[in-house]
Each structure stands twice: as structure tokens, then as C-alpha cells.
Homo-oligomer: 303 residues x 2
């Protein structure tokens, strides 16, 4: 099952040239999820040839401008380009007022339904579920209400053993039943248990998005054992005091979180404009957690 | 006197890659004015090495997103980067509510005063004046209240004739008086009239910005004889019906306006995303008004 993250922005509040504010596009089995939508997100999608019309669900962590200011423009463009299918938005409740005020004054009546689901910044809840994935919130500690999001792939059905299918000439209409545990009777009348014909499915994948937050460890149990953890790393650790004051995390702290949560891979982003070069920021995290990568514009990570 | 226009965006409502929504930076004698502020304007300024902190006055034509959605991000970045000097905004009254709602929910208290001056979409008024320039509004006919802006350079003092200054050894402290019409008495006691020592100043320059509008000719008298006219040209003339329906102008109509207003030069912009190539759009305007230019990203026009 495809589980792919495309990074659209890696900057924190003040952009620098060639870094855009936060936004990520997830493709989970050809269903597209947008996570945060900083200013310029629709342009970034054009840059990377990604189709905004394929997005049905948008997740906004919090209402600092670098995480949502691209949303009105994106929603307007979808409207102008003829969208009719609903769009679901999961975000702090106050975003609804912001959207309404903008659309009121531009006299925009969206041609498609906007389903708004407010997130609860106090406790983790499941906010989305389909056949492939469950999305739950990760309450974070920032200056204003903020949640991360965890995308947990669901356990798949067992996989058929190809050789058995050929050997026993199993008809295609039986496959789905066998995967669900039913036995198969071959043409000689011999019964084969489901477990003899199948192998365990791939372990479900999980991705956690944590931006923005002070490094307070309270969310560790919500992100344990994820395959990929995206964590903000606004500052380097020589500025740990500044990070705490502004409710942000250092690169070293992001690595500590990944280690403590037993994540397999760490992506860092949301870099302060002071870091023109990001190699030192990466090196700091890698010193503790070697499997760390820069979540910079255009990078694609596959789970 | 420097009078320079840098184009930051040339797209209409739905962006295409490499075209940004409307924004222009004017440098009039080292005073900086931002005209419209579509999404991504602050990034465009970074791209072209322009300093947003130098802007003291922002003019917003109307509240369609492609003309103002970059404003909250820009104002926030100026705040985060330590601005303390006031910012003046001239815009439709409703923009104030949009700004307030955004800043309320991000809990942003700007460190600098925001002086908001609502524009009147019904009649032309003078909204700004300094030593060099007067700015007045141009009421336009769009789907929602909209004004263009005319920047009229003021008449300068006469220019000293360099040879006379040298010949008569005119002291520097006399220059300002002579320019203002006082006579000069040389060391032999001979009186020289101001007009013998000076030449006429350059003709004041004027720039008109007209976006967005249906081509209804009502604003022609407000833009007569400008040196440079920027006019929206969302469509080509084969789509004149669509242009009228959406209260926009065609490239040919923009040329007709320039001709009728006796403008010296025409800049066209606000191009529909349907035009990947802009040469045909330009050719259409040039067929009627040869002194036409594409106002595309990064272009600089000097008056």
C-alpha cells in the first residue's frame, strides 16, 4: 500500500527565499491528505505537479499564519476550477470564523460543501477513518491551541501465497474468502486451511506529524513506535532557552523525542530563518538519532 | 526622481506555476509603496531582494483573495522581524475585520501601529500625499467594491543651470532660494533673475493602476495622460463575453483604454491561467497600442 509524504514547506514563521511555510501532502493508497497549509501551498503543489483537486481532507495543526494562510487561496482556487465534491477540514474551531470572514467579503459562495470538524486541543481523539487509515490528534503544547496528527495504517488482510494459488488452481472469486479465514476445498476434495495458503500481511505503517510544540514529552505515548516521525526543529540546541520561550523544539530535542518514542525514522522541519544552511541542524539530530532526514521542499518519503 | 515599478505577480484568481497573484512594489524617490498583496507576495519580495521593512504604505484594490491574501503573512513577518514604525493600509473597509480575525486567533499583538484608512469605492479621493507624490483612488466596476490607484508625482522646483552656478560662483545656501524664485546678486552687484539661472523641472510623472474592472470607460478621465497605465487584461478579446460576465477586461480593451486615456505606455497583467504563453495576449494589445508591455514577475518599469 502506498504511504508517501511530500514536503511542501520547511520554514517557520518568517519565510526565507526557497523555503515555504509548513505544508505536507500525504498519499495513502491514492487518497490524498493535506497537513497544514501555509501561504503559497497551492503554488508549491503546482511546482511539484500535485493535483489539489485530489485532496478530500485537510488537517490544520494550529492558527499561526505559517500553518494555515494558504488555505483560503487553495479553497478559492478549487472553487474557481469547478470542484463540486465536499472538502473536509479538521482544524481548531476558530478557523471556521476566519474562513467565513474571508469568503463573506470576497462574496464567494463555494460550489462545494465544506465540512468543518473542530479538533480538541486537550485530548487525543480519532477524527478520520477509512478502509486504509485512522487519523488521530496529538495534543501539543504551543502558545495557542495546537494538535499534531497521527496517520495509522490499518492491518491489511493476509497475502495469498502465489505458488499455492497456481498449484491448487484457486479461482479468483475464492481469494477474498480465503484471505478472510475461510478454508478452500480443492478439486480432489482436500481442505486447505486459510493459514496454509496465506502469509501475514505487511505490518501497518504509522506516521506522526508534530508541529509546533515545546518539547514536554507529554505526547510521547501517542507517537510510540511510528515508522516515521515528523517533528519540528525550529532551533539548534544552543538556543534551547529561546526554543522554550517560544514553545518550540531544538533539533537535538527532536532526536530525543524520536529515540524515546522508538520511532524508526525522523524527519525534521519548521526551520528558523536564521539557518541559511541546514546541514548543521541535521548533524545535530543525527548525532543522537542517525536515521534523521531534512524535510525540505520537494522531498518525498515513503513508508 | 526615481519612479520605479517592480511587478511581483501577474496571475488572476487561480495561479499557475511561475505566476503569482497581483502585487507591485513602487519606489518613488526611495519611498516604497505596495499595491495589492496576493498570496506569496512576501516570498516574491525575497526572490527579488526587495526589503519589505521599507514599505510604509500598502494599497489594496479589493477583497478578492488574489489581491490581499498575502497581507496577513507579510504583516506578521514584519512584526516577527522587529518592526516598530507604523504601517498605513488603504483598502476597502472590510479588510480591517479580516485582519482582526486573523490576528485574534493567532494571538498576535503587532509591535507596530497599523493605521487603517478605508477607501471609498464610489468616488475618487486623495488618500495619500507627501513631498513627492499624491495618491488618489480610481473607482472601478468589479463584482465587489474595487478601486485602482493613481500615483501623481508633484511638480518639482526648477533645476539650476550648472554653468551659471560655476560662472557666478553661487553659494550653496542660495540655491534653494533661487529655485524658489528669488533673484541672485553676484559679487559685482549685478542682479540675476531666477529664471536666468534655472531651467524648467522635469514634467511630473503619473502612474495609474487599474485592476480589476469591467471595461466601462467611466474611469478614463481619472487616468488621462498618465505616463504609465497598468491595466488588467484577464482575457483575450475572443472571450469578451466571458470578460464582461466576470467584470474583467480583455487585452484589446486595455489597449482601447490606454488609447482613449492618451497614456504613454501600457502595462498589462492579471492574466487568466488559460494563457500559458503570453505573447498572443501582448500581440493583441500591441495591434492597437504598440507601446504595451507584459507586467510579468520581476519586470521593472521606470517612469
Amino acid at each position: 500500500m502506498k504511504f508517501e509524504i511530500t514536503i511542501l514547506g520547511s520554514s517557520s514563521a518568517t519565510p526565507i527565499f526557497n523555503r515555504n511555510p509548513s505544508a505536507q501532502l500525504l498519499n495513502i493508497n491514492e487518497k490524498f491528505f493535506l497537513v497544514d497549509c501555509g501561504e503559497g501551498t497551492q503554488q508549491q503543489m503546482l511546482r511539484y505537479g500535485l493535483k489539489a483537486q485530489r485532496i478530500d481532507d485537510i488537517f490544520i495543526s494550529h492558527l499561526h499564519g505559517d500553518h494555515y494562510l494558504g488555505l483560503v487561496g487553495l479553497l478559492s482556487s478549487l472553487h474557481l476550477n469547478g470542484r463540486t465534491k465536499p472538502m473536509n477540514i479538521y482544524a481548531p474551531a476558530a478557523l471556521q470564523e476566519i474562513l467565513e470572514v474571508n469568503f463573506k467579503h470576497s462574496q464567494t459562495e463555494l460550489r462545494y460543501p465544506l465540512n468543518f470538524q473542530p479538533t480538541d486541543p486537550e485530548k487525543s481523539t480519532t477524527i478520520f477513518e477509512n478502509y486504509d487509515v485512522v487519523v488521530s490528534t496529538i495534543p501539543l503544547a504551543h502558545r495557542i491551541p495546537c494538535t499534531g496528527f497521527k496517520f495509522s495504517g490499518k492491518k491489511r488482510l493476509p497475502k495469498m501465497i502465489r505458488e499455492k494459488v497456481d498449484e491448487l488452481n484457486i479461482p479468483v472469486e475464492q481469494i477474498s474468502l480465503i484471505k478472510r479465514g475461510f478454508p478452500f476445498t480443492d478439486h480432489k476434495g482436500k481442505i486447505h486451511g486459510s493459514s496454509q495458503l496465506t502469509t501475514e500481511p505487511d505490518k501497518p505503517k504509522a506516521y506522526a506529524y508534530c508541529s509546533d510544540t515545546i518539547c514536554d514529552w507529554n505526547y510521547i505515548d501517542l507517537i510510540e513506535n511510528v515508522d516515521v516521525l515528523y517533528h519540528e526543529a525550529t532551533f539548534m540546541h544552543d538556543m534551547v532557552d529561546r526554543a522554550s520561550e517560544t514553545f518550540h523544539t531544538t533539533s537535538l530535542q527532536a532526536a530525543q523525542v524520536a529515540l524515546k518514542a522508538n520511532a524508526e525514522r525522523l524527519l525534521i522541519g519548521h526551520f528558523s530563518a536564521r539557518y541559511r544552511e541546514l546541514e548543521p541542524v541535521l548533524a545535530e539530530a543525527k548525532s543522537l538519532f542517525p536515521n534523521t532526514f531534512l524535510a525540505t521542499e520537494g522531498s518525498v518519503f515513503r513508508l
